[in-house]
Chain length 312, copies 6
């Protein structure tokens, strides 16, 4: 397959890509044209159809897979595809895995481990709260598909699950290393801390911020989702309910990262560290896995340093 990241100016391309967006417009001289964004798992490219009504151009919509013939141009410093012919493809002509990034781990195996954590919680209210989410089929289906980010780390199908499992495993370790931690609370909030991401980000292939995500953010969405469920569980202790909500709200640790409260409980502090550690470890893993360079890779904004792989 000809991947988008390998495009070079002047190349002719004959390949199938996924249509991520499509807009119709007219030129200054009044002629219609279509502007697309095509995508595969290596990236995206703008594409122009200057004669959309010609014979060689099939009808198609966003999220269709299309086989195109075109040429790579340079427009204002970026690649742009000039498309000559378009054919809409049917299932079987392409492998979706070429178009959408996905976790390296088996999703069902990760899910099983996650459910084991749910079952390990023995406070009845917290267990009911967890089950209201993770035993709900629609939620589970959505959760498994979600990414944990638009970009940066865990930005792939299953990414939310992979990150949540990793954070919960670490919180489990913390609860053993620091017995003063309330394990039931900590495991609960580890499992729930990013549930708001199921609504903050749209499904693949868009995997982009929803309107709700832009306006509220996954922290507030997730806290609201948890509060809603806790209100429905009879007898849920009020103090405990506040603590669950607080840990979700505070898990980014700093105001400037969108937490409206700083961690005030020991479990909130522990959750913040587990979340942050996993984010940074995964970020570096993704970067180092995607390059053969052994030297310095330049400044990385998330790590806030020039970085390099360790020698071995």
């Amino acid at each position: 397959m000809k991947y988008i990241e390998s495009f070079r100016e002047g190349e002719t391309v004959n390949e199938i890509y996924l249509v991520r967006s499509k807009k119709s417009d007219i030129t200054k001289t009044g002629k219609p044209y279509d502007k697309l964004i095509l995508t595969d798992k290596t990236g995206s490219v703008d594409a122009m159809i200057w004669d959309p009504n010609s014979a060689g151009i099939d009808d198609f919509d966003v999220l269709d897979y299309i086989s195109i013939n075109g040429v790579v141009n340079n427009f204002q410093g970026a690649n742009q595809l000039n498309i000559k012919r378009v054919r809409k493809c049917g299932e079987g002509e392409y492998d979706p895995a070429d178009y959408l990034p996905v976790s390296d781990f088996d999703i069902e195996e990760m899910w099983t481990k996650l459910i084991a954590h749910v079952n390990s919680v023995d406070n009845p209210y917290l267990k009911k709260l967890l089950e209201s989410f993770f035993l709900d089929e629609a939620f589970a289906k959505k959760f498994k598909k979600s990414s944990a980010a638009k970009a940066v780390h865990h930005g792939f199908i299953g990414g939310l699950l992979e990150h949540t499992l990793s954070v919960t495993n670490m919180c489990d370790y913390f609860s053993k290393a620091y017995p003063m931690l309330n394990r039931n609370l900590l495991i609960t909030v580890a499992l729930l801390h990013d549930i708001g991401k199921t609504r903050e980000l749209s499904d693949f292939p868009q995997n982009d911020y929803t309107d709700e995500g832009q306006l509220m953010g996954h922290i507030v969405i997730g806290a609201h989702m948890a509060m809603d469920q806790m209100q429905k569980i009879e007898g849920f202790p009020q103090k405990l309910s506040g603590e669950v909500t607080h840990c979700i709200l505070a898990h980014h640790g700093e105001y400037e990262y969108g937490s409206p409260k700083k961690p005030a409980l020991m479990e909130a502090v522990a959750l913040h560290f587990a979340d942050n550690t996993d984010a940074k470890m995964e970020t570096m893993k993704e970067i180092f896995s995607s390059t053969n360079e052994d030297g310095w890779l330049g400044f990385n904004r998330l790590i806030d340093s020039n970085i390099r792989k360790t020698s071995n």
Copy 2:
């Protein structure tokens, strides 16, 4: 009346005060004593009863009004009252207004103006949302009594109402000066922006952060209250619901002041300015009203400057 702010070391005091807290303990030598916090509208003072079982000491509880006889001491640089006699008072012996700070404006008159703003909103969904709060008798009663702060500005009974009305008036002005603003949305969020304070702060005379207030803050509480109501209103447009929530979340304007989102809509920006302007104007008004000093008053943390009254 002998006000607490006028206490001087060595004075004997015979007066009625409100009991804000009471703790019983024993001294190193095993003798029981009571430690109280007494309050009036000018402040609070620690008070000790070294012989709580003596004849002159009536039984009483927190929030009782007691007539005391005692002497003002200096303990570690602060006034402390040594109480010799305590008599519990009945209603009629004291005027509650001497003990609890209250708005200078008439609460019912302000309420009428607030309801007029509610009635001026002509989007049916937003109006229903507002009515679900302001036409609810329990909420209205609570709202009228609430202060807008533990300290700083509007820290008195009716303070939340006074501040909300002032912010809504200013948003009304803004909607005329900047016609691009969506008036219905702006008036709605002006009225709702601080409703979370009814749960963040306990009633007077405590007027202190609740556990929920500490863990979540009034911004998230208020956003959650609004979301809860909007979910119950059939057909409430999803985009509009996100916008209402966003404006409440963003009204502090900066992450470091507890807003998990920065204002992204024109109405959110306008609300933030109205809230901030009213807070600062009221802060200065309260400071300048409480002093006869015409010169520089020293550094004020909220204004972030040395301040003084303007000449006239």
Copy 3:
């Protein structure tokens, strides 16, 4: 008219533009060429005349209007015009309004409202101070033409007047909402707060920072202009003079925005809020007015957030 913002690589352009700058140089091979900046109300473009001594190239100077024939190239990612022929135009061939941005409001109507504010001040010293500026013909002429910014908001002819009027209107509202404010002082400093911009920015079409503007900034220039006038008004109270100067100096509110003093008077705080609110409202208005996009518009540096138009 063919606007500069619509240029696309490869287009041939025949149109009249305003010459904003012109520099003559020689190429590596010793041949003379001219480098111009051409402008219309939609933007600017670099333009090259590779054969300035050829027959088709008229003599012309900066601020002339020239009719050109040329081709749009891409040079290092930006459009550049290669000019083949130049003809200098006479008045009547073009409409200056196509070349210089101007306020949407009628300048004389705004001026009348501004003068009404001047007349509403009843402190004789402050009134004399205002009249020394606004009744001075040369100043008035300059003030009406000035923009309020090089870019960002109110960056058009009449922009300084429009912004000053809007800020003064809002201060008028504040003086009613907060009676403790000294209205005479507040209206005065609202009217004067940005007078330094008449010297910080050069006239259109340049509308660029002057040397004085770079070295001193409009805040200090404006404060100095006011101080100069107040020194000339006999009997001007010294304390009041300091207060006027302070409000001008502090109107940006923060050191990092160029205010050498933080607002210390109630009127200084009010002026800062009025200025900041109007700047942000106008910024968003200008952005939303210039696009048909209903979704998220991306990160805006001044608002410090991704922004979008509100639904209605």
Copy 4:
């Protein structure tokens, strides 16, 4: 002499002090009393006269020297003098040097060196500007008496002169080390950079911020003083005038230290470093000179570090 810094609770004091402030008030019980601040070169102390109308209490005013008899008490953690008798002193009974801090260097010798710097400037406009200040008798008298700070460094009579001379010397060194510097400009702004302090601070013994100082600060006052003079010098080049003003405005180097402009000219950068270096060197010199402690002295806010004397 019994210095104020040596007062201990319970001591009886018979000594002459300078009256820095005096306020008359009445106690809760309606009895008049006076509250003074007495000062000598080692510090200040609050003092109370509980019976101001008694026989032993002479009439006196602020800035009188009075011989007092009193007892040192502790009031809220600070010393307070209870005064029994007051006698107003005549000249000759006391040595003013015991009451006001003064430079270690001879003021006239420093002045001679300063004038030599003035004379070394050979740009006629800059020389005229300098002479308009330093050859003006009233300014010279005021300048020699001024301190360079309320507290921190150079907070003594002659301090402004000492600091200005030291900064000018350093700028002289810089002009040799970096020949690209415009020596005339640099020496001029070194001499003028803090002239605003003659109006920002009142004379000793108050040495406190004036109203003008609070509202405008010495940077803006000084820039205005220089601009005023430059306007009066015929033919003063406009570009040069802007450069002088800029260097004064920018000499604190950072917005947060009250400079409305960051240094943009090489001379402005050099002046900022000379000013800052001299301030920090003098700060440490004053601290280390006033203690016998050879170890760590604790955190110093200005140096932003725990500090200690160097071994030798």
Copy 5:
């Protein structure tokens, strides 16, 4: 035993304390006196001997244990002991554990676990490096006695060992959770990251910053100690040596916390999180263990939030 933290004004105290410092001086009236700091495991108190040459006052030195008789006074808001009699004690009269804070865990058991980590490293150079420290008897003795802080967390004998073990355990967990981590490097730097503290802080009972600690800090001291040893190990790979040093230098994670480099290697990031997590967990554990209060404890500077114990 009568602990120092329980002193109350007016009490008479007869007890044995450790002498932490002793200074001899003379009063204003020329009489000699001694000023001591006495300590036990609950805190310190200033103590005065006003008549050091009287019969009841034994000779003694710093670090002696003395039996004293005295009275608790309040001096400027703090307790101060007025000592009447002093008797120097011999071993056996007191239990050192009452005077010096010590880890709750058994030091030799922790040491055994630490050595197991040393032995688990299978890179021969790193193992030699670790052995050069941990198999060195003098270093081991010093390391076991050291605290990890002057105040804040792990400020007790064995604290450095307890913290180092906890951090190494967590790094061991990380190396399993994130297989891309170089376990040998990570375990090595976990064990070495705080060795500089053996020189930054003096031994108990002082446990205060050494001159070297003030001037260089434990990060640079520790990095230098490691570099010194690596230079002596023949064939130590240069790249690996840089990586070890880097991880030690970067373990505070931020410049403002004294790290001259930000973590650039995955192991440096992991070490920083392990260090920070353990510091915060231990801080909260120490606070919550020392109080019976279940409510909010007020603002904690290290956690940067008001904090409370979690409900259970």
Copy 6:
């Protein structure tokens, strides 16, 4: 000579350049190509050899001088050279001074002045320390060749020497202006403050960060080099050794600039100012020397302001 900074798209180039890097790769279609970086004293350019095995392409290596024939293309907004022919040059065909930037001052003359500073130190331990570096032939050779920066200021051969001499001269001035400074210590640390740069940066023509430089930085490297030598000098006073190390560590003045300690000694403060002043003066000198522009040059990141040359 045809300098790289003068390249324009489309030009044919026949010139000798220095090969700074060379990588061999294959295209998507399997054909080998070489990617070079060529350099001269005016800059660098990427260069491609698409047919490295053709007859016209000599063998050559990194750091060879090659005579090339090629054409300048634009690739993604930057110049790129397409090379047709390569001939490896011998010594004598080129002048190295055209390829490597070098100080404007004579290196041996600067060295003589530096050694005079070394000889002026009369503390025997400090003198031995200085001699262990500056009398060491290998160190001296390395030091003279080193630049003081990868970019920014003093980024040329002899730059480290020029900067060190200038800083030491200024510290010499400071020691006269502020006699409390310990001259021996100050001159010593001025001479040593940047010795770590000899290892932080590789030699020209690379002049890039070494692995050690990235991992540790010149501050820690230099402090370690000094500590190493001081340990070898018998009887070197421990307190003095800490002071030398501290001054080197703290010379950047702020944590965020890589100093793990803030200046705590008077000499450390003085050194920081000398270093910073020289860096900023040289930065401006280099910028102003390289342009004929008399107006504003735009925002400069290091000076943190828009800058311009001063008028004269």
